[in-house]
Structures are given as C-alpha cells and as structure tokens.
C-alpha cells in the first residue's frame, strides 16, 4: 500500500514541478515520501495523524483542527532529566505523548520509515546508474 501511494505521489511531484530547482524538488519528494507514509499508516497512529496535520497545515495555511493538541493526554513539560526528549523531537507528534505510547509510536514509526527507505532504495536501484 505504501508503494502504491508513494509512486502516485511521486508522479504528481514530477508532473507538477518539471521546472523547479533540484532542491525544491527533492524537498517535495521528501514530503511526498512522508505523506505517503502517513497515509498508508492510517489515522489510527498518533504520529501519522501529526504528520498529516502538519501537511494540511502547510498546504492550506490554516490551523490544524486541534486534533493533535487535544490528545487527552495531559501535556507534561519535558523535565530536564528526561532522555526521551530527543525521541519526542524526532517522532512526529511525540511531544504530547506519555512515555509508554511514545515508545509504541516510535516502533511503528521506525517500521514505516524502514519500509519507505527500502522502497525508495529499490526504486533508485531499478533506475540504474543512469538515473542522474
């Protein structure tokens, strides 16, 4: 499912921005990768919700519906001694989860990320050395 979405997103990227600079295009591709990851993961995951919210926010320039804010989990300010701070910053939506669910989301996020990386790598490989 991930490949399907990602390939479609990639098509869109290449179709809509044929003349943009390389950097912008790579950013778009990266965003497409993350978006397809989030879509395929589904809304039942906190990190995918946070990612989708972020993309909608950026695209539509409107505040996300506050779904990710009112997660129901009391927002605890990160104490200085917490080693999970780095993880919270890395995983999308990680700042508002308790430690337990943060670990779970991290596991799922890592799984999806590795699938995405494998997919992209295989695509690049199949293109071959002439892919530049």
């Amino acid at each position: 499912m991930l490949a399907f979405r990602f390939l479609r997103a990639l098509t869109l990227v290449h179709r809509t921005t044929p003349n943009s600079s390389n950097a912008a295009r790579s950013r778009r591709i990266q965003r497409a990768a993350f978006a397809s990851m989030a879509y395929s993961a589904g809304p039942r995951r906190a990190w995918s919700r946070a990612l989708l919210c972020r993309f909608h926010f950026h695209r539509a320039r409107r505040r996300c519906a506050g779904r990710s804010r009112t997660a129901g989990v009391p927002r605890r300010p990160s104490t200085t001694g917490s080693p999970a701070d780095g993880l919270r910053r890395l995983v999308p939506g990680g700042t508002e989860m308790d430690y337990c669910s943060l670990l779970e989301e991290t596991a799922d996020y890592i799984r999806c990320l590795s699938k995405q990386v494998k997919l992209m790598q295989s695509i690049v490989d199949s293109v071959g050395p002439g892919g530049r």
Partner: protein
C-alpha cells in the same frame, strides 16, 4: 553523553556536505553512528562502562573500586564531620560530577570510589542491582540484599562508616543515585548541581529532588514523583530516628531509583509497599509496559545489543535520525533524470480511446488497478519480483514521458524505429520494454503499433529525446 551529541552533530555536518552520494553516504552514516557509539563506550568513564557492560566488567569494576578506595579515603578524610551532609554531599557530588563528566579513568575511578565509600554491603548491593538491571531477571539475592540493607540495623553499618565517610547518611541515600544516574548520562548533571539540602529535612527533600529527576531520567513522569515521597513517608513511618530514617529512605531510594527496569526492585516494592499499594501496582504495570515496548524496539533497531536502557534510547534516537536522513538523501538522489514509477490510472483511461483496444483497455481497467496494487506491494519487498510479476503478465515498465508520448502519438501510426535508437533512449530511462519471453528492448522488431493498451506502470524520465521512438517501440512491445 556530551561526546555522543557532538559526534552526531559533526557527522550530520559531514553528511550534509557529502550528500550527493546517496547510498554510500547513508551507509557511512550508519557505520559512523555505530562506531561512534561503540567507540564511545570504551573511553567513557568507568562507571558508565561498568554500567553498560555489567556482566563482563563486573569483577573488574569491583576490583577497581576497592583498589581506588584508599586514595579516595584520603580525600574523604579531609571532609568535615559526619553530620555535615549538605556540604559534604555537595562536594561528593561535585566530585562525582567531575568524575562523570571527565572520561579519564583515575578521576572517574576516584569519584566512583568516593561514591561508594567502603561499604562492602552497599557495593555488593550496587553490583547486584546493576546485574539485575542489566539482566532484567529477578533474583531473590538482590531482593535479599536490599532487604538486608533495609532491615539490618543501620547503625552498625552506617556509624562506623560515618566516622570514615562523612556523608554516610547522605551517601547511602544518594549512593544508588549515581548508580542510576551513571546510566542516565548527560542529563544527570543538572539535578545534582541543584542538589543543596540543608540539614536533615533538607536532606530528604534533596533526596526527593534528584530522585524525582533520576526517575524521570528513566521516564517516569508523574508516578515517579509520587513514589519517592511516598517511599520517604513510608520509611519515616516505619523507621525510628534520624539514622533509621536515612537508612530506610536510602533503601527505598535504592529501590525506587533502581526501579527502572528491574523486577527485583518491583518485588522489593511489593514487599515494602503496603503503604503505597495502588501506586506501586500502577507503577509496576507501567514499567512492565515500558519494558515490553523497549523490547519490541530493540528488535527493530539494529545493533541492539545494548542492555542499558539509556543507551538503548540513544541507539533508537540515532536510528530514527539515520532513517530520516536516508529518506532525505534518497529523495535528493532522484532528481533530474531519476525516474519515478507510478501507476498510470489516468493514462490508461486516456489511452482507452484507441479503437480496437478500447474495449480491452476498459475491461482490463479493473484488473489493471488490481495489478498495479499487486506490483506496488511487490515493489515494497523486492524490485526483482515486481519486475517478474510484470513480465508474467506481459506488461511493461516505461517512462511516463513515453506514456504521454504514446497517448499523443496514437493518431499517427508511428514507424518502427531501429533497435539502436531504442537502446540509446532506454539507457537513460527506466525503459524496460518487455516482451513476453523477451527482456531487452533492442530485441524488438518493429511492427505496426496498435492502440496503446500499454498498461502500466510507467515512469517519467528526463531524457525525453528518444521518447518518441521508444514510445513506438514500447507500443510495439505491448502489443506483441
């Protein structure tokens, strides 16, 4: 863990510099990450090394501790009276801090020796705690040790040592903290620096403070905060007298501070925790869940041989950063001529306008969607199998520009191009024109192209110059 963050930053900087090489860079990054952490463990201060490689460095650490003790005792002798806990505690911990922040062995060993002034019991206990923390298994011995420390008449242990180690009470209470905070790493310094207890009460408060932070170092946000205070109150209720309070507080501190992942600590709490039952049960459940999740994460992350919770967290963080970096690098590598393979739903519908192929295209539209899904799924696992699947269906993989060229070129029947042009065009494309039974575009012979029932997965290519010829070839292919 300052070196680790610096190392990551340095590596990230080098990564940004050399980002043009995609996979090699990413591999180097991973290797550097692994080396950085592997190599970092070794020069790290002794306490951390001993915490991380508990079983192996066990005896060595003990020997080192005991051998370094005479030197540390000299320093301790300079300290003031036993009941000057605040200053002595501060000095102890500043020394401990110095030992922790500087990776040099002598100072670290001395600090470590200072942290564990000659308590045979407590050093044994510390070692056992570490062992259990690392192994994660429960042991009645550990429990026994703790209980021993707890219920034994503390005066016997503490008072003789009180004369020798001035910060005995504060020490015993704060002893286990370095144990955990040594594993906690960089975030340890802040709580210790702020430790400033004033007198006995202040000592408990000070104990509660760093304990809270130490517990949060293991990620126990709210329950952890309540635990030490409850343990303290329980200890206060149970014991009689200042020393007894200090001792039981220290034992409970050791129980709660070490309760990160060790079942023996949970068992100790279960034994002593009659006064704090519901909280202890909730804490235990919570810790079990955390331990389960950590185990699942350990399986996901490569190089997960770290038995220490904090270093495992670091490893996880690094791995997530590495994966995100890989995504970034891969997206950069596919600029320009890079091909994007995408399902051609729209093109198929547009191509379905062709005469003879319309019925075929439309009827096969549904199956095509299914096929696309199938191929996409296969692509996730293995590109080769996806290609084989395509071949089996008699489909081809072609650049998107070709597909658009095909749809525009349906009106005029194109002439069969030479194989050489196709091969030159296909060099820069994802131009796998696949015949049933045949693989290479140059093998094709030209035929009159029929309607482009070119189903498929097409790809976009930058080299559109050969697109027209290749398109005709591809059309030919699909029809054939």
């Amino acid at each position: 863990m300052q070196p680790s963050s610096r190392e990551m930053q340095g590596m990230a900087g080098s990564m940004n510099g050399g980002i043009s090489r995609s996979s090699a860079v990413a591999q180097i990054a991973l290797r550097e990450l692994q080396n950085g952490h592997g190599g970092q463990q070794i020069p790290n201060s002794v306490p951390q090394a001993s915490f991380d490689h508990g079983a192996s460095g066990h005896d060595d650490f003990l020997d080192q501790m005991l051998s370094s003790l005479p030197s540390s005792w000299a320093e301790l002798g300079n300290l003031k009276t036993p009941w000057d806990p605040p200053e002595a505690g501060q000095r102890l911990f500043s020394a401990g801090l110095a030992g922790e922040s500087s990776p040099e062995e002598p100072s670290a060993a001395a600090a470590e020796g200072m942290r564990y002034p000659l308590y045979d019991e407590s050093s044994l206990l510390a070692n056992r705690l570490r062992q259990h923390q690392i192994s994660g298994g429960s042991s009645p011995n550990g429990k026994g040790m703790m209980v021993h420390l707890d219920h034994q008449s503390q005066q016997q242990m503490l008072l003789p040592s009180l004369g020798r180690s001035p910060v005995a009470s504060g020490d015993s209470g704060l002893l286990p903290l370095p144990l955990t905070l040594g594993t906690g790493g960089y975030d340890v310094d802040a709580p210790f620096k702020s430790l400033n207890p004033t007198g006995g009460e202040g000592l408990f408060n000070g104990l509660g403070g760093p304990l809270q932070r130490a517990q949060s170092a293991f990620g126990h946000p709210q329950g952890g905060a309540s635990m030490p205070s409850q343990n303290f109150t329980a200890a206060a209720g149970a014991a009689a007298g200042g020393v007894g309070q200090a001792a039981s507080a220290s034992a409970s501190a050791s129980a709660s501070a070490g309760g990160g992942t060790g079942p023996p600590r949970q068992k100790v709490r279960a034994r002593r925790g009659q006064a704090t039952d519901p909280h202890s049960i909730a804490e235990r459940l919570r810790r079990e869940r955390i331990a389960d999740r950590m185990k699942a994460l350990q399986e996901l992350v490569p190089n997960a041989n770290k038995t220490d919770k904090a270093s495992m967290l670091d490893e996880i963080i690094d791995y997530v950063k590495f994966l995100q970096l890989q995504v970034k690098v891969l997206s950069m590598s596919r600029l320009g001529g890079a091909a994007a393979v995408a399902p051609l739903v729209a093109d198929i519908s547009s191509e379905g306008q062709g005469g003879a192929g319309s019925g075929g295209a439309n009827s096969s539209g549904d199956s095509l969607t299914v096929t696309e899904h199938q191929v996409a799924k296969l692509m996730e696992e293995d590109m080769g199998s996806a290609m084989q699947y395509l071949q089996g269906k008699g489909l081809c993989l072609m650049p998107i520009s070709l597909a658009s060229a095909i749809s525009t070129a349906t009106a005029c029947p194109p002439r069969p191009p030479s194989s050489s042009s196709l091969s030159s065009a296909g060099a820069g494309h994802l131009g796998h024109g696949i015949l049933p039974g045949g693989l290479h575009p140059p093998n094709l012979t030209g035929d009159a192209p029929a309607s482009p029932g070119v189903s498929a997965l097409t790809a976009q290519s930058a080299m559109a110059n050969g697109g027209a010829e290749a398109a005709k070839e591809a059309v030919t292919v699909s029809k054939a």
